[in-house]
């Protein structure tokens, strides 16, 4: 066992874990943050995407111990209190989810796209940048709409974005 200290959703966390523990296991099993999901074993589906130091990563392919001192944001930490993040709001408004399983990773990936590419996103860019997230329900049509709308809304809500 070994100890790791990091920040998760703004709270300091210290955990004593088996070195094999992946970030997604730390989140789901130790911290009971079960919004982050596992959908594959080959780092492709993106159901496990969280932000580490502001960047989207696959928590199924990251050792918990490698995150000493890092700041992790999960889907549970995206909303500002009871106010939904604009990207969450956009996924609901545009029916960007069905079974909900890929949704947390999809939303975290979407916020990351906006962080990297700004608020004015065309369809081709969104589709290309969703490369690391697989959805089996929606055919992506409404996810693409939701990401574009969420990106625009994030531009109009700078305070919220800063909070994230």
């Amino acid at each position: 066992m070994a100890t790791v200290s990091l920040t998760v959703n703004g709270k300091a966390v210290t955990a004593n874990v088996d070195p094999r523990t992946l970030l997604v296991q730390l989140l789901r099993e130790n911290l009971r943050l079960t919004g982050t999901h596992v959908g594959c074993d080959t780092s492709q589906c993106g159901a496990c995407v969280v932000h580490v130091d502001g960047k989207a990563v696959k928590s199924c392919t990251t050792l918990a111990l490698s995150l000493e001192g890092a700041s992790v944001t999960t889907i549970e930490g995206l909303a500002n209190g009871s106010a939904l993040h604009p990207m969450q709001e956009a996924f609901r408004e545009h029916h960007g989810l069905q079974c909900g399983y890929c949704t947390p990773g999809m939303i975290m990936a979407a916020v990351d796209i906006v962080n990297r590419r700004g608020n004015d996103l065309d369809e081709a860019t969104i589709r290309e940048d969703l490369d690391g997230n697989i959805c089996r329900c929606t055919g992506y049509h409404n996810i693409v709409k939701a990401v574009a709308a969420g990106a625009e809304a994030m531009g109009k809500a700078p305070m919220r974005q800063a909070a994230e």
Partner: protein, 267 residues
């Protein structure tokens, strides 16, 4: 995963020390090949030496006629680097098309090069640009470095510290993605430095990344897509799998080479 002991050195020197001292130790860079392999229990190192905290292995700088990239620099950092975009835009383009955005946030140039996956993108850039791989022990040219499928000239205890790319006059990269894995089914990197033209092919070779001399000769005459008209790579030595047989892959080498030249020449 099987159990292992985790180490997190702060410098490349400390990492080298651990690697020398610990039996059955493996280096962890971005982890996007090693960790899935360990999850499947296909790799089981006793010690894992994580290079993630080695600040001396990160960073991108322009040094004279070279762009020097630290081994732990992520694909995203290379893709977004103003230095790389200005000096060798094709290299930034390549880095920006590895895996997906999340993979690019963790995956590193050192990890990719050391693994020498036959479908990885970077080896083609190193080979075509005539890059130099610097380790904690020596310097190796790309031609010396890549020795076969998942094989490199790296020795026990050797750690890649940086990769140095000469700035060339023209370069381009085109990749035909494996539709499932998004690795390179065929990737072709072309580079022109003075009169020297190099064409490197990844994804297609039975023995990993390789150069295509016929295309190099053709392009040395005139560096234009037209020079490749009618030039076909033979299917011998090209690998085949459920996604693409050797004949199709060989054909794609020609198509991608043209696209790469078009990118390099802006046409």
């Amino acid at each position: 995963m099987y159990a292992f002991t985790y180490h997190r050195p702060a410098t490349a020197r400390q990492a080298a020390g651990l690697l020398a001292k610990k039996e059955d130790a493996k280096l962890l860079a971005g982890g996007h090949t090693l960790l899935p392999t360990m999850k499947q229990r296909l790799a089981s190192p006793a010690h894992l030496v994580d290079l993630g905290a080695c600040a001396d292995l990160r960073g991108i700088e322009r040094k004279g006629r070279n762009v020097v990239i630290g081994a732990m620099t992520t694909h995203a950092e290379v893709a977004d680097s103003a230095i790389v975009k200005e000096a060798i835009p094709a290299l930034a383009f390549l880095a920006g098309h590895i895996g997906d955005p999340h993979v690019r946030h963790r995956g590193t140039i050192g990890g990719s090069v050391a693994n020498n996956d036959p479908a990885a993108d970077y080896p083609s850039a190193l080979l075509a640009l005539g890059a130099t791989v610097t380790t904690n022990k020596r310097k190796l040219t790309a031609d010396e470095f890549f020795t076969g499928l998942y094989e490199t000239a790296l020795e026990e205890g050797e750690i890649i510290t940086k990769v140095s790319f000469p700035v060339v006059s023209k370069a381009g990269y085109a990749k035909f993605r494996n539709p499932a894995s998004r690795y390179a089914l065929v990737g072709v990197f072309v580079a022109k430095r003075g009169s020297d033209v190099r064409v490197a092919v990844t994804g297609a070779g039975e023995g990993g990344v390789f150069r295509w001399p016929e295309a190099e000769t053709a392009l040395a005459g005139r560096f234009a897509t037209k020079s490749l008209d009618g030039l076909k790579h033979k299917a011998d030595g090209i690998n085949g799998d459920i996604h693409a047989d050797a004949e199709y892959r060989a054909h794609l080498i020609g198509v991608m080479a043209k696209q790469a030249v078009a990118q390099a020449t802006g046409k």
